[in-house]
C-alpha cells in the first residue's frame, strides 16, 4: 500500500467535504470527516475487478474509489455533468464503470442489492469481489441479517464492511445493538469476521486485503467491522449531540493527523512533500468547484426522462 | 352389463382434466385393483383403478385429450362381446378407486 497516496486520498476527502460544507447551497449531505481511513483503507485493497456499494455516507467512499472530484462535486450540486446527470445526488451516486456500483440512501437498503450484484458476477464467472459499506445504524435492520444468511449459504463473493462510527444519528450503538462487537453478527452465520481500528488506515487496508483474498479463494463472504468516530453531526441538517469535551477527544483521533505523524516519524513524509500534497488537494478541490459551478443544471423536462 | 368410467370429482376446484395415459387398449381385461388410466388435474396425478373386473371396450378420450368432470372417458363391459350403446352417458358407472398423487 502506498502510504503517501493514502494520505493524499484522505486529505482530498477532508478538503473536498470542508469546501462543500462551506457553500450556502451545499444541500443535504452526510460527511465522512473522521472516517476517511475506512473509505481509503477499504478502497486501497480493491482492484478494477471489484465493485463497491455504500449507504448514504457516500462522498468519502466515492472519492476513495477514484471517481473524479469534478464529477462528484457536480453530482452533489445537482449539475447535469455529474455521473448521474445530477439526478442521484449524494444519496444515489453511481459509476459502475469505475467500480462504484453506487450509493443508496435507504439505511440497509443496499445490502440485498449488493448480494444480488455478487450473485450476478459470480454466476457470470467474473473475477473480483463486491463490497457493501454500511454503518452501525444498519445493523439492527432485518436486511443485514437476511443477507448474511443467504450470502453464507450461497457462498457469495461479498465483503460486508460495517463502518461503526458508534452513533446512529443520536443513538449510541450500545443502546441500539446487543452484540459485544458488531463483527459478532457474522459469526452466527459462520462467516469469517474481524474488527479493526477504523482510524488506522493501514489496519483497515490489511484487514480488507486479507478478507478480499479469502473471498477470492472461494471461502465465502466476510465481515469487517471498522470502529471509527465521526467529526461532524450525522448530516448537515442534524444537530450535534456530543458536548465540547467529547468532541475535543474525538477530533484528537484524526486519521489524517495519525498517518501524517507516523510518516513524518519514519521520514517518508517531509514538509516539502506535505506542502505539495496540500497544494494538489487544494487545486483539485478548487477545480472541482469551478467545474461544478460552470456546469448547467439538467433541463426541467429531465424530470420525466429515464423513468423506465 | 355396460359400464362407463367418467371423469371423477377429485377436488372442488377441478373442472377439467387431461388424460395422461391409458394402461390398456380396447379388448383388454382388467381385474379389480388394476390401474386403468392416469389423469392429470392442474395440481396432481390421479390414478384410476378398476373397482370391479371387466373388459375395456372403447376409449372415448385418448391420451393427451381433455375432458370435463362427469364426461365419459371409456366404456367397459362384463364380457368382451356385449354390444355397446350409441350413447355412452346411458351406461352405469364402473366401480373405480382413484388415488390422487
Amino acid at each position: 500500500m502506498d502510504l503517501i497516496e493514502a494520505l493524499h486520498s484522505m486529505m482530498l476527502i477532508r478538503a473536498f467535504e470542508t469546501a462543500l460544507a462551506r457553500r450556502s447551497d451545499h444541500g443535504f449531505q452526510l460527511l465522512s470527516s473522521g472516517e476517511e481511513a475506512v473509505a481509503v483503507g477499504v478502497c486501497s485493497a480493491l482492484t478494477a475487478d471489484d465493485q463497491l456499494l455504500t449507504g448514504g455516507r457516500s462522498i468519502g467512499p466515492a472519492l476513495a474509489r477514484g471517481l473524479a472530484p469534478d464529477a462528484v462535486m457536480a453530482e452533489l450540486l445537482g449539475k447535469a455533468s455529474g455521473p448521474n446527470r445530477g439526478k442521484g445526488g449524494r444519496g444515489h451516486m453511481s459509476d459502475a464503470s469505475a467500480g462504484f456500483f453506487g450509493a443508496h440512501a435507504v439505511v440497509g437498503g443496499n445490502i440485498s442489492i449488493a448480494a444480488g450484484v455478487a450473485l450476478a458476477r459470480s454466476l457470470g464467472g467474473e473475477p473480483g469481489i463486491v463490497v457493501i459499506l454500511f454503518g452501525d445504524g444498519a445493523c439492527g435492520a432485518g436486511a443485514l441479517h437476511e443477507v448474511l444468511n443467504i450470502a453464507a449459504i450461497w457462498t457469495l463473493p461479498l465483503l460486508f464492511v460495517c463502518n461503526n462510527n458508534q452513533l446512529s444519528v443520536s443513538t449510541p450503538r450500545t443502546a441500539a445493538l446487543a452484540p459485544k462487537a458488531l463483527s459478532d453478527l457474522a459469526l452466527a452465520h459462520g462467516i469469517r469476521s474481524a474488527s479493526v481500528d477504523g482510524m488506522d488506515v493501514v489496519a483497515v487496508h490489511q484487514a480488507a486485503a486479507a478478507a478480499s483474498t479469502a473471498i477470492k479463494l472461494g471461502e465465502g463472504p466476510a465481515f469487517l467491522e471498522c470502529t471509527s468516530w465521526r467529526f461532524a453531526s450525522h448530516s448537515t441538517s442534524t444537530r450535534e449531540t456530543r458536548g465540547q469535551a467529547e468532541m475535543a477527544a474525538v477530533l484528537a483521533r484524526c486519521p489524517i493527523a495519525r498517518l501524517d505523524a507516523a510518516l513524518s516519524t519514519s521520514g517518508a513524509l517531509t514538509p516539502t512533500i506535505r506542502a505539495d500534497l496540500e497544494r494538489q488537494v487544494d487545486a483539485a478541490v478548487a477545480k472541482a468547484l469551478a467545474f461544478a459551478d460552470a456546469s448547467p443544471y439538467p433541463e426541467r423536462d429531465e424530470a420525466t426522462t429515464d423513468v423506465g | 352389463m355396460i359400464y362407463k368410467i367418467t371423469v371423477p370429482t377429485v377436488a372442488e376446484d377441478v373442472e377439467e382434466i387431461r388424460v395422461l395415459e391409458w394402461h390398456g387398449a380396447a379388448g383388454q381385461d382388467f381385474r379389480a385393483g388394476e390401474l386403468v388410466v392416469e389423469l392429470e388435474t392442474h395440481k396432481a396425478l390421479v390414478e384410476v383403478r378398476a373397482g370391479q373386473s371387466g373388459v375395456l371396450r372403447r376409449v372415448l378420450c385418448q391420451d393427451g385429450e381433455w375432458a370435463k368432470v362427469g364426461i365419459p372417458l371409456a366404456l367397459f363391459s362384463d364380457d368382451a362381446v356385449e354390444p355397446l350403446p350409441e350413447n355412452a352417458e346411458l351406461a352405469r358407472d364402473l366401480a373405480v378407486d382413484f388415488v390422487v398423487d
Binding site: S94, A143 | D13
Partner: protein, 342 residues
C-alpha cells in the same frame, strides 16, 4: 378464455403455460434465472416451475429461505448487474416485504443513475382468496400501478399467462407479474408458436352494446359469467380484460365506453383507490362524465371462513345487481352526453 380452439394451439393448464414460457426463455438466454421458495425440485407451489430444476440445475433455479425482502433485493441487484432473474413471491400478501428493494431501488434505478443502470427483474406473485385466510388472500396490484418505473401485468388465461411472461422477459426494468390462485385449475388454448402478448394492450373478450365491464385476472371469469346472465335479461355487455395494469390501455377501454355509454369496473381487490378507480378517472378525463359503478371486495379482510369469504368477494350475481342499478340510473338521467355508435 374458453373460446373455440384456434388453429396451431395446444391446450394447457395455466401453470403449464407459465412453465412453457419460462423454459423457452431460459433456453434462449443463460442469464435468465428463477429464485424463490420451493421453486427447485418441488417445482413451485402450483407446479408452475416443474421441470426447470431438472433441466437448468441448482445454479439457475434457486430455492430460497423465507426472506422476501432479501430475495427481492437480490433479484433486483442481480438484474442491475446483468442477470435476468425472475423472483417468485408465492403469496402476493408478502410482496409487501419486498417493496423497499423493488420500489425504492428497482423502480428508481434508471432514474437515479441518470439512465446508466436498470434492473430488468420479474417479480412473479400469486394473488387471490381461496380459503387461506386474511393474510394469504390479498389482491394489491392497485398499490403498484402508480409507482413510476414499475410495470404490472395480470393474465386471466393460459394464453396470456404465456404471452405476458414472454413479454416480461423482454422488459428492461422491473415488472410485477400477478397471477391468481383460482386461475390455476383452468386450462386454455395457447399458441404453439412463440408469441408475445404486448404490454399496454387490453383484450375485448366479449362484444356488447349496453355496458362495458372492465376487469382483470380471475374476475374476468366472473365478468363473463355476469355478462351471460345479463344477456338472458336482454342486456348486452362488452367485457374488456385489461391484462396490463401499468401501462394501462385506456384507449381500448375509452373506445368501448364511448360505444356503450356506461362503465362497470370489477376487481377482487379493494374498491378504494383500486384499479377501477384509476380506469374510471382516466375514462372520464377522455369522455367527460359517464355513468360508472365500481365493484370490488367488501371493505374488510378476507377470512378463510367460507361464508365470510364468499360474502366479501364479488360474484356474478353481485356484478349483475350493480350493472342493473347502474343502467337504471343511466336511464333515469338526462340524455347521455356521448353519441352512441354501434
Amino acid at each position: 378464455m374458453s373460446g373455440e380452439p384456434a388453429a396451431a394451439t395446444e391446450r394447457l393448464f395455466f401453470r403449464e403455460a407459465i412453465g412453457r414460457a419460462l423454459r423457452e426463455e431460459m433456453r434462449i438466454d443463460p442469464r435468465r434465472i428463477v429464485m424463490g421458495q420451493d421453486v427447485g425440485a418441488f417445482g413451485g407451489s402450483y407446479r408452475e416451475f416443474e421441470g426447470l430444476f431438472a433441466e437448468f440445475g441448482a445454479s439457475r433455479v434457486r430455492d430460497t429461505p423465507v426472506a422476501e425482502a432479501a430475495m427481492v433485493g437480490i433479484g433486483v441487484g442481480a438484474a442491475a448487474a446483468g442477470l435476468r432473474p425472475l423472483v417468485s413471491v408465492t403469496y402476493m400478501d408478502f410482496i409487501m416485504l419486498g417493496l423497499d428493494p423493488l420500489v425504492n431501488y428497482g423502480a428508481k434505478l434508471r432514474y437515479k443513475t441518470g439512465g446508466r443502470l436498470t434492473a430488468p427483474v420479474i417479480v412473479k406473485t400469486t394473488s387471490g382468496a381461496r380459503g387461506q385466510g386474511v393474510a394469504h388472500s390479498q389482491c394489491v396490484e392497485a398499490w403498484l400501478m402508480s409507482v413510476p418505473g414499475l410495470k404490472v401485468v395480470a393474465p386471466s388465461n393460459p394464453a396470456d399467462a404465456y404471452g405476458l411472461m414472454k413479454a416480461a422477459f423482454l422488459e428492461e426494468g422491473p415488472i410485477v407479474y400477478v397471477d391468481h390462485k383460482r386461475l390455476f385449475p383452468i386450462p386454455g388454448e395457447v399458441p404453439l408458436a412463440a408469441t408475445v402478448t404486448p404490454l399496454g394492450l387490453a383484450a375485448v373478450l366479449r362484444r356488447g352494446t349496453d355496458l362495458t365491464i372492465v376487469t382483470h385476472s380471475f374476475m374476468t371469469r366472473t365478468a363473463m359469467e355476469a355478462a351471460t346472465a345479463m344477456s338472458a335479461q336482454g342486456v348486452s355487455c362488452e367485457v374488456v380484460d385489461l391484462r396490463s395494469l401499468a401501462p394501462l390501455d385506456i384507449a381500448t377501454v375509452s373506445a368501448s365506453v364511448r360505444r356503450t355509454g356506461a362503465l362497470l369496473t370489477l376487481e377482487e381487490g379493494q374498491v378504494t383507490c383500486g384499479v377501477g378507480t384509476e380506469v374510471a378517472a382516466q375514462v372520464q378525463q377522455r369522455l367527460g362524465p359517464i355513468p360508472v359503478a365500481r365493484v370490488g371486495a367488501l371493505a374488510a379482510p378476507v377470512s378463510s371462513n367460507p361464508v365470510l369469504e364468499a360474502a366479501c368477494l364479488p360474484d356474478a350475481p353481485r356484478v349483475v345487481s350493480a350493472a342493473v342499478a347502474l343502467l337504471g340510473r343511466r336511464r333515469s338521467d338526462a340524455p347521455r352526453p356521448v353519441s352512441r355508435k354501434s
